[in-house]
Symmetry: C2
């Protein structure tokens, strides 16, 4: 089979930058490419969009095929179309990003991927294509977004301590936060509900457990309230 | 000439949502399509990306060809690729958005556009393709972004009053803001410099003139400071 057009067309691909929050380090999911170009190089999971497939479905399918990851909330990041970015010719890639807990997922490489693995964000191997630039864009977006939208709560237990919450933000931002300021800001948003419960079985004074009030957040967001940390 | 590929490929287009700030109303730049599909319908300016052309360059070129607008800062918005969005077959469109002052630009329609005109955002004509959905996404992004990034200052005179600044934000957000709260927030960010000058030739008590301190903003942004309004 072959397909003929009056004008030349770029190929369309997807790439997925999946961040993992593991033990206070921010990690990134990569695959080792089994096929040329860049065979044997590490890269973001991704591949070609089928002609009758929604772009986001393609991202979800490629992520699952190449890494085994399922049930990840992908958000569109940016479309990379630099003229020289792929040695095969013009390839335009719609990039997605997501946050996940590595321990929730069993990795299993297949199809175009020889291996799939988590890498610490500050110690990535050399990458195929322009994937370093996709990753830079994804890190900037993630660190920007975490300051004005309550992303990340789904990576905590349903009931969590303020220390756990601060740890999550510090991991994502890659920086330490001042405890007093952090608590003041979190409290002033009134988005946490005190469950009345405390931690169990900890070798120190147990801390209060909170949950995130998503209903109240949605209501405030509709009123133009800005989450801000 | 014709171009043949082993797998079918979508066509790649760009669309531009250019918002205009005019006399306290938020407007949108549209063109009337001269060619099918949707000939005679209003639509966002846009068109096909050439095979050797950067995507953003294509957006800039199409905007200028169809409307005469130049020197507009386009930011990538989102890529729309819904399978049924174009009657010609699979067409994936990378959408861009921008803010402009209509009075700075002389509109001149050409190529695929019969006319170009500004429309009030709350009174748009029926639109071609899925352009209503592109516009919804652009409005949401613009109104979100204005709260955490100092966009829009370039639409004010270099020296402006706090009333002018508040008017700009009210126009973009489509809502009235409380004057005291607005001034308190603006002052607390310490991003405005009092020029020591006052308005001239106004039929009331002249107000102080300020300028935006972009150097200080860039420095704070590098330190993780969040602009917030």
């Amino acid at each position: 089979m072959s397909y003929t057009y009056e004008y030349p067309r770029p190929a369309l691909t997807v790439d997925c930058a999946v961040f993992g929050i593991a033990d206070s380090s921010l990690e990134l999911l990569l695959i080792e490419r089994a096929e040329p170009p860049f065979a044997g190089h590490w890269a973001l999971p991704g591949g070609f969009v089928n002609i009758d497939e929604e772009i986001e479905d393609a991202a979800r399918r490629e992520l699952e095929e190449e890494t085994g990851m399922r049930n990840v909330f992908l958000e569109q990041l940016f479309t990379f179309g630099g003229v020289g970015r792929d040695p095969r010719g013009r390839v335009v890639s719609v990039a997605y990003y997501a946050l996940a807990k590595p321990s929730d997922h069993q990795l299993a490489a297949a199809t175009d991927a020889a291996r799939a693995a988590w890498f610490p964000l500050d110690d990535l191997p050399p990458l195929a294509f322009d994937h370093d630039s996709i990753i830079d864009t994804a890190v900037t977006r993630l660190r920007g977004k975490v300051r004005y939208a309550p992303i990340g709560f789904e990576l905590l237990p349903r009931k969590f301590t303020l220390t756990q919450l601060q740890g999550l933000y510090e991991t994502i931002l890659g920086t330490e936060l001042d405890k007093r300021n952090f608590r003041k800001k979190i409290r002033s948003m009134e988005l946490l509900v005190d469950t009345g419960e405390i931690e169990k079985d900890v070798p120190r004074r147990p801390a209060r457990l909170y949950r995130f009030d998503r209903t109240r957040y949605r209501k405030l967001a509709r009123q133009g309230f800005a989450f801000e940390l």
